[in-house]
Subunit: 333 residues, 2 copies
C-alpha cells in the first residue's frame, strides 16, 4: 500500500505538503496539487483508514449485534442498518449472538476497545430470559452509546427503536372479532419468553377480555415438531375459527395444518400472522400478516444513533415504528 511518505519521497516534497495537497488545502499551489494528485492516482494511493481512525479517535464504524440473521426479520433489519450506514459513510461490524448471553457479552467486550463508535443491538433470547443486562450497563459507563431495537430493556437508559407489539396484535385480534365475526380465536406463539412476545400476548388478551371471550394460547417454545403440535391442537379444538400467530412461521403452519384437516381457509378459519415482504407468497392461500417494517426499523436505528453523535447533551428517545395490518382476501373474508 502506498503511503504519504512514499509519495513525498518520489516528489521530493514533505509529507505534510502531500497531505495538504490531497486534502485540497488552500495553502498549497495548484501546480503542486496537480503533481501530487497525478502521482497519487497513478499509484492508486488511498489514505490508510486505521491511521486516520487513530488520529481522529473516530472509527466511523458501528458494531451491530444480532441474535441471528436467518430469521428474516433480523435479516431485513440488517439490510436497513447497512443501507443507512453506507449512506452516512459508516461501516458496520456484525456479530451474531446466536441468542446466547455468552456470545453477546463477548462481542460487546471485544468491540469496546475502540473498535466502534457505537452499538446497535437486539438483545439475545438468553439474556432476556435470564434478565442479565450488566454487560450493557458496563459499555454505557464507558461512554460508548448503544441503541437497542425490537427486544429492548426497560431498565437500560439509551435510545430505543421498537415496534407497537401490543397495539398491533390488539388491533388484529379486534379485527378478527368485530369484522370477521370470530369468537374462538387461537393465539400461537413460539416466542413467548421474549419481551415482544409477552407484549403481543397481552394485546391479544386485552381484546379477548374486553369482549368476554375465552383466551386460547398455544405456546410452542422452540420445539422441533411445530407442525404436529399445531395439527393436534386444531384437531382437538374443532371450534377454533381464527388463528393469530405472533411469529412469522406458525401462521403458515396453521394454514397448512387446517387444510390437512379439511378446514377451509378463510371460510372456516381466518388466519393472521406476523411477517415481512415475501411472507404472504409462501402460503396458499396467501396469509394475512401484521407487517413489521423491518427495513425501516434498521434504517431508523442507524439514523437515530448517528444523530445522537452530533448533539452534545443528547436526550434519549424511544422511537415506535408501527406495524401495518396487511390483509389478503384469501385468509380473511
Amino acid at each position: 500500500m502506498t503511503t504519504l511518505k512514499e509519495l513525498a519521497k518520489l516528489l521530493n516534497i514533505s509529507v505534510s505538503t502531500v497531505s495538504k495537497a490531497l486534502n485540497d488545502s488552500h495553502e498549497i499551489s495548484e501546480q503542486t496539487k496537480k503533481r501530487v494528485n497525478e502521482l497519487a492516482a497513478k499509484l492508486n494511493y488511498k489514505p490508510n483508514r486505521i491511521a486516520q481512525q487513530l488520529k481522529t479517535n473516530k472509527t466511523k464504524t458501528i458494531g451491530v449485534i444480532l441474535p441471528t440473521v436467518t430469521n428474516p426479520f433480523f435479516a431485513e433489519v440488517l439490510h436497513g442498518i447497512e443501507t443507512a450506514a453506507t449512506k452516512h459513510d459508516y461501516d458496520i461490524l456484525v456479530c451474531l449472538s446466536d441468542e446466547l448471553l455468552s456470545k453477546e457479552k463477548r462481542s460487546l467486550e471485544l468491540l469496546s476497545n475502540g473498535s466502534v463508535d457505537g452499538f446497535i443491538i437486539a438483545v439475545a433470547r438468553e439474556s432476556q430470559v435470564r434478565s442479565e443486562f450488566k454487560h450493557f450497563a458496563r459499555v454505557l459507563e464507558n461512554r460508548i452509546p448503544i441503541l437497542l431495537f425490537d427486544r429492548v430493556i426497560q431498565d437500560i437508559e439509551c435510545d430505543k427503536v421498537i415496534v407497537n407489539d401490543f397495539q398491533s396484535v390488539y388491533e388484529a385480534t379486534k379485527f378478527l372479532i368485530e369484522k370477521e365475526e370470530r369468537s374462538n380465536i387461537l393465539l400461537i406463539s413460539n416466542i413467548e419468553e421474549l419481551s415482544v412476545g409477552k407484549l403481543r400476548i397481552k394485546g391479544y388478551n386485552k381484546v379477548i377480555e374486553e369482549h368476554g371471550l375465552q383466551s386460547n394460547v398455544l405456546k410452542l417454545g422452540n420445539v422441533e415438531n411445530v407442525e404436529e403440535e399445531v395439527f393436534r391442537y386444531l384437531n382437538d379444538h374443532p371450534k377454533i375459527d381464527a388463528v393469530i400467530s405472533i411469529d412469522h412461521i406458525t401462521g403458515i403452519v396453521a394454514i397448512n395444518m387446517a387444510k390437512k384437516l379439511g378446514r377451509l381457509v378463510p371460510e372456516d378459519l381466518s388466519v393472521i400472522g406476523f411477517g415481512y415482504d415475501k411472507t404472504p407468497m409462501l402460503s396458499s392461500p396467501r396469509i394475512s400478516i401484521i407487517h413489521q417494517k423491518a427495513f425501516d426499523i434498521g434504517q431508523q436505528s442507524m439514523k437515530t444513533l448517528l444523530d445522537s453523535f452530533k448533539s452534545e447533551d443528547h436526550q434519549f428517545m424511544t422511537l415506535v415504528i408501527p406495524s401495518e395490518l396487511k390483509l389478503e382476501e384469501s385468509t380473511v373474508n
Copy 2:
C-alpha cells in the same frame, strides 16, 4: 477510555513497563505485574485496537460483501462466516451490494484502504450479467486477498468455494426420471442469468438429453407475479408430471399452484426445489429439496481465507461443498 499512558502516570512508572507487564513479559517483576494488572482491571483498561492495528499492520478484520441478506441462503452463509470468524478472533465488516455493480465497486474500494486483511465475496447479479470484474482484479493487484463463493468468476484467480450446481440438479432430475418415473419435467428458474443458474439448467438439460426427453424451462427472471406465471404454465401444460425448481421460492409456489389446480402432490406431480434447513416446513406437503449447506459454505470460506494468510506462497484452490438431496415422502413417491 483508559490508556497505557494514564496507567503509567498513576503508577509512576513508564509506559513501556506497563505495556510489558500487561503482556506478561518475563522482563518485569511479579510485583510490578501485579500492581499494573490490578489497576488495569480496576479501570477496565482495554488495549486500543486501532493503535494495535496500526502498529502491527494487521486488522484481524475481513470484509464480507454479499448481494443481499434477505435471501436465506446468504443469511445462512453469513452465519457460517461469522461463526468461523469469531472462532479465529476475527471480526467481519459486512457490506451489501444489493445486487448492484456500483455498490459492490464502492464497498470494495472503500475497504481497500487498510480496513481489512481480506475479502469474502459473492458477486452481485449485475456484475455477473455485465461481466464487469475489473474492480476485483484491482484489489488483487493491491495484494489484498479475495475469496469468492457461490457466484464465482472463471477469469479471476483467487480462492473459491462453490456448490456442485451442475451435479446436484443432474442427479435430482435423474432421480425424477429413473426412480419417480416422470417424463415431463419442468424446470422453473428465477436466477437463470447467474452463473449458478446456468450450471443448474445445464445439469437438467444434460439428463433430459441423455434420456431423449423434452426440455421444459420456465424462466421467470425477477418478476413480481411469480404465482400467476407458474399457475398459468401448469394450467396450459397439463402433462407436466414433475417440477424441479432451482431456487428456494418457486418450488413452494409450484406446490401451491398445483394444489389450486386440483393436481395431487406427489401423486400427479413430484416437486423438488432448492432450500435450506427450514424450507420444507414452509410448504404442505413438505417440499423435497436440494439442500445447500450454506452454513458450511460460510465456515469453509472463512477458514480457507484465513489459512491462506499463513502459508507464504499460497496456491489458489477451489473448494466444492456438495449439496444433499433431501427427500420428503410427501413430495416424491
